[in-house]
């Protein structure tokens, strides 16, 4: 099958977007490599502390006017941005495939989910209404006004380069705040394109800023006294040990989303054919690089025939999966983001073998890449059978296309095992029993719960939840909770004497 056209044709050095200007960075320059082709597609600056300071300064300067812009007018900027995103939908999607490696269907899905957040934030005139009580005492009234706070920092991860900053940015802007976005330096292109479109939408200078880089930029955000809050999506160690405590120490609001180890619970009464399809997407979609991916497949019951046929079905489906460059429409799984990530995943596969799990499908060996591409970042789907909950592959977040199959005697055992897991992001059950489904959703500790859904990704008008070591903070990104995160309640009590 012919490849879809690549939107990035020329290697350019990306610039920061500060105060409405595209500014060249003085920082060191790093290559951005397409993981499927191995070709450099851009160069990204690792910006300096002065540059993050300049962006925060620009945002701080823009804040008073932006805050005074009526919500209905702010929403109109977002409506325009939404139009531009629709007009450039395909280009943005293909950029994601080029920079990240995901398939074109996955990239389009990511673009759509990003746009949905802009759409929801367009409702801000209603979403940020306060409330009012007349006559709290005779002749006295009281009301709440949700007010913006100032400048927010948004730190994006590598796995959803376009969508995740949009879990926060549209709400921050709609509520009257200004933002500084730090995209992942591994995949900065779609955010650079997004900033161009935000500029084209006419947002005033300084309202939306982008600073490329790494730790210096993150530290600059965390330490900056004029940044009032941070949203972060990344690994649990960084969320838990860096972002969350440092925001606490500097008095910032924080949403820090961490890692996961999601269980997919398979009841013997599930729709087998549909469930196997769902497992392919859940475990191997985005090459397993998402915090909502299935990681552990828990098959319930003592029925050997069901167990064996389900595992065989999953192994067969995974073996037939087409791997290659995501701009080939027939490809079902792309590469992982880079060589280091692949090596880390291989380390886990080796640890699974050492700990005694049975390797049913070896992604290190069974790679049949469609097209002439270097193997550097490609890894096939890997399936382990006979995994026990104490094994490293069942406990750690692998963040790659690896499935660990565990067997449990009943739903009780599954729920108890899952609730001992420190992560609680997106566990799911597959069953045709409403009773079991309800029991599962009632007892399971998980920010997002799936019932016959393998990737429990909340729509933009629901919070993207997470519990235990998968989330640090109080309010979540997306929807009403994001509106609350980005506003502070001002309470007014009036009496006219």
């Amino acid at each position: 099958m012919a490849l879809l056209e690549e939107p990035i044709k020329e290697v350019v050095t990306l610039k920061n977007f500060i105060g409405g200007e595209w500014v060249e960075s003085k920082g060191e320059i790093k290559d951005v490599v397409n993981p499927a082709t191995g070709k450099t597609i851009a160069r990204v600056p690792i910006s300096t502390k002065d540059e993050i300071d300049a962006a925060v300064e620009a945002a701080k300067e823009a804040f008073p006017d932006w805050r005074r812009t009526p919500p209905v007018a702010r929403a109109r900027y977002l409506f325009r941005l939404k139009e531009l995103l629709e007009e450039n939908f395909e280009e943005i999607s293909r950029i994601q495939t080029q920079e990240h490696g995901k398939t074109i269907d996955e990239s389009r899905g990511e673009t759509r989910r990003g746009i949905e957040n802009v759409e929801v934030a367009c409702g801000i005139p209603t979403l940020m209404q306060g409330y009012f009580s007349e006559d709290i005492a005779s002749g006295m009234d009281e009301w709440v006004i949700p007010t913006p706070l100032g400048v927010f920092g948004i730190i994006g991860p590598f796995n959803f380069p376009f969508m995740i900053p949009l879990w926060s940015a549209p709400y921050a802007l709609a509520t009257g705040n200004c933002v500084v976005v730090k995209p992942s330096s591994e995949v900065p292109n779609s955010q650079a394109r997004l900033a161009e479109l935000a500029d084209e939408a006419g947002l005033p200078p300084g309202v939306w800023n982008v600073v490329h880089g790494g730790r210096t930029v993150v530290n600059g955000m965390l330490d900056h006294p004029d940044i009032v809050g941070i949203t972060f999506v990344g690994s649990t160690p960084t969320a838990k040990d860096v972002i969350y405590p440092r925001c606490g120490a500097t008095g910032k609001r924080v949403i820090a989303q961490g890692g996961a180890k999601n269980f997919m619970v398979i009841m013997p009464d599930c729709n087998v054919q549909r469930t196997i399809l769902a497992m392919m997407t859940s475990f191997f979609g985005n090459a397993g690089q998402r915090c909502l991916s299935g990681a552990n497949l828990a098959i319930i019951g003592k029925d050997d025939e069901f167990y064996n046929s389900f595992v065989n079905g999953v192994v067969d489906a995974a073996r037939r999966m087409k791997i290659g460059y995501g701009l080939d429409e027939s490809v079902q799984m792309g590469p992982v983001r880079d060589k280091e990530k692949k090596e880390r995943i291989i380390g886990y596969i080796e640890s699974g073998i050492k700990e005694g799990a049975s390797l049913r499908l070896d992604g290190r060996k069974s790679i049949n890449i469609a097209g002439d591409y270097p193997e550097t970042c490609f890894l096939g789907p890997t399936i382990f059978d006979n995994v026990t909950p104490d094994m490293k592959i069942a406990r750690d977040e692998i963040f790659g296309p690896v499935m660990s199959v565990l067997r449990m005697k009943d739903l009780d055992e599954a729920i108890e095992t899952i609730n001992r897991c420190p992560f609680a992001n997106g566990h799911a059950i597959f069953t045709s029993s409403g009773k079991d489904a309800r029991e599962f959703q009632y007892r399971i500790v998980s920010g997002n719960v799936g019932i016959n859904v393998g990737i429990v990704a909340p729509m933009a008008f629901f919070p993207f939840s997470g519990m235990k070591d998968s989330f640090f903070g109080v309010l979540h990104t997306q929807g009403q909770e994001a509106v609350r995160f980005f506003t502070e309640s001002k309470v007014v009590i009036q009496r006219w004497l």
Partner: protein, 144 residues
């Protein structure tokens, strides 16, 4: 060739609609008597593309089974859309019916298989399949 991803199937549907639209445009030039019917079919094809693209791009999400939604064999549904020089009206109408049968079958099968996607995509496929069924009846009437 087997198709598995939503993107591939949408591309195939677009290709089939364009080919069949071209077929009806050619037919309208060759047989002026029923040109209005053929041109309305060609126009409807354009609308079909808009409809399924809107459904696909409007509801596609990273979370559902976009890459594993189908198991469609393309050879069953592809067709030759060129009209032979010496074909008479009855031969042309028979070819049109044959094309419509293939496309109806394609959309029914695509609707059935895409149930793992959000409901809008299979629903649109099913609507188009039904419309194409209606076309077959009209073509059969013209054939007499």
């Amino acid at each position: 060739m087997k198709l598995h991803t939503a993107s591939e199937v949408i591309s195939l549907a677009r290709e089939l609609e364009n080919k069949s639209a071209k077929f009806y445009q050619d037919l309208s030039q060759k047989y002026a008597k029923d040109a209005d019917v053929f041109l309305s079919f060609a126009k409807e094809n354009e609308k079909n593309i808009v409809q399924f693209e809107r459904a696909y791009y409007g509801v596609i999400t990273d979370a559902l089974e976009g890459c594993f939604a189908f198991d469609l064999e393309t050879d069953i549904y592809t067709f030759e859309a060129e009209l032979a020089e010496n074909v008479d009206v009855s031969g042309a109408l028979k070819k049109a019916i044959e094309i419509e049968e293939k496309m109806t079958k394609f959309y029914f099968e695509a609707a059935e298989q895409s149930k793992s996607l959000m409901a809008d995509v299979p629903r649109v496929f099913a609507i188009i399949a039904k419309k194409r069924g209606g076309r077959q009846s009209k073509l059969k009437l013209l054939l007499g």
